[in-house]
Symmetry: C2
Subunit: 323 residues, 2 copies
Amino acid sequence: MTAPARSFSPRDPTDRKVLVTEVGTRDGFQAEPTPIPTATKVEILDALAAAGVPSFEATSFVSPRAVPQMADAAEVMARVARRPGVRLQALVPNARGAEAAAAARVDMIVCFVSASESHNEANLNKPIAGSLANVAEVARIARAAGIPLRGAVATAFGCPFEGDVPVDAVLRIVEAYVGEGVRHVSLGDTTGMATPPLVERAVEAIRGRFPAVEIALHFHNTRGIGLANVLAGLALGIREFESSIGGIGGCPFAPGATGNICTEDLVYLLHECGFETGIDLERLIAVARRVEEVVGHPLPGQVMKAGPRLRLHPIESVRRAVG
Amino acid sequence: MTAPARSFSPRDPTDRKVLVTEVGTRDGFQAEPTPIPTATKVEILDALAAAGVPSFEATSFVSPRAVPQMADAAEVMARVARRPGVRLQALVPNARGAEAAAAARVDMIVCFVSASESHNEANLNKPIAGSLANVAEVARIARAAGIPLRGAVATAFGCPFEGDVPVDAVLRIVEAYVGEGVRHVSLGDTTGMATPPLVERAVEAIRGRFPAVEIALHFHNTRGIGLANVLAGLALGIREFESSIGGIGGCPFAPGATGNICTEDLVYLLHECGFETGIDLERLIAVARRVEEVVGHPLPGQVMKAGPRLRLHPIESVRRAVG
């Protein structure tokens, strides 16, 4: 049993470490209409790793016709610096993607299936059952290559077409993953429908059935409560979160709404709550600014604008608030 | 003792009600460079009350030279509809403001003092001790008029000039308020420096010393964690929060950073966690859109863009995420 959430800091000193997985060069750059140059992707990945980010969903091995933004996946993996202790994951939709990812020597292959049929059809062009058959193929390829497999569950907290997603639908995917030897599961809040009670329900259901599975949470801030969901996850003892630098990425259904939770804002919250990430927040902010320059439009990250709380201001800068 | 935060919903059915105090027409409109017309302020206040918002910091009675945006305080109070069960508060810096607020028959007078000397000097042009003397005068006027007094503590979670604010500095202000008969205290996160552990520390310290005082929390989202702080407050049993419609308002020190937490996003989080506010979220969103039109620039609110989580999308709207 984890510490009660009334204390928002970890009580057990051995339980302070939180793994932050950066997904900006995949989930974020994929949402940009103009593909980002390969050299820039590599520059951003290297700068983030130098700032201490320990884990990345670096790219995805998908059809370049479907997702031209990720056409350079193999080249990104060939050019990015390999650092000890840094995990470079890649997302794959099928066996062909898994073979390419294995050839590129990724550190972890991530397969994915939606928990709702209509989203899976829209995203992967097949029913869930068909995607699970693909997962079996992907798992064989990963095993043969000696690469760990991670299983992502899209629309785990709700589907933009169907609404609520029953927790049993999530358990069904996790069960299939576990049957393929998966030990790391990531619950994807694909369009920002997660809430603290839904996070609690999903995490407790998975732990009840599959206590050995490690759960990561992938939140979007589409409805403004992404970091409240993180706080809920922390209180449940979750110690891995996925986020994107600067909050890069959007929501395909809601113009102007944000996508992934923002890495700097997440790291700021974690550090302030007494968790350790190994990440240098000031260097992270510098990378976020660089990403904003690269994409050429403002990013939703807040800490990159305001700075950490103890970055002080000269008193002359005050605008008098009240008379 | 409140329910443990591991359950992010209220366990006790008598403890479901959360009071949302809307501060947009004061804290939000004050941050707009161009004053908003009085008729528009009245329209927004009336529309919010019609949507079920039960409490407002409607305006402030301050020097029109210092804050021209609030020069119409008396007129706003004269023209806004008075509805049973709706509380219209006004902020006052001194006796003159209190007299004007009493003459305007506000439902509650709000006095304020910063917990840090340099912010109080910058904001009120006097040391904390001088402001506390003012509070005594304001309290006399409020008592004479039979109007309840609320005490706000600015920079309660940090000062942009001094950094950390000791909890004793907050207790000192609260003690002075209590001495003047104040029963409602609002802790102001003036420049978005609150964090879950700081919220816990302040709330527990005040409760320890002044168990009869009701605490409201006023967060800014300057560093992206405003609603995580709300979740922390809920877990501590706090049942009043201040926010602004659309997230209107900014941070004077951080261009592009957001100000107050957004009312619709707050109400969405509260409802999703099982709390009751009496507010109609769809009508609230409509008012947020109107406010965006009024100020003429995009507001940071997310739910006003994405809609509540169960506002579904036609499947044809999908942009395929991966191949």
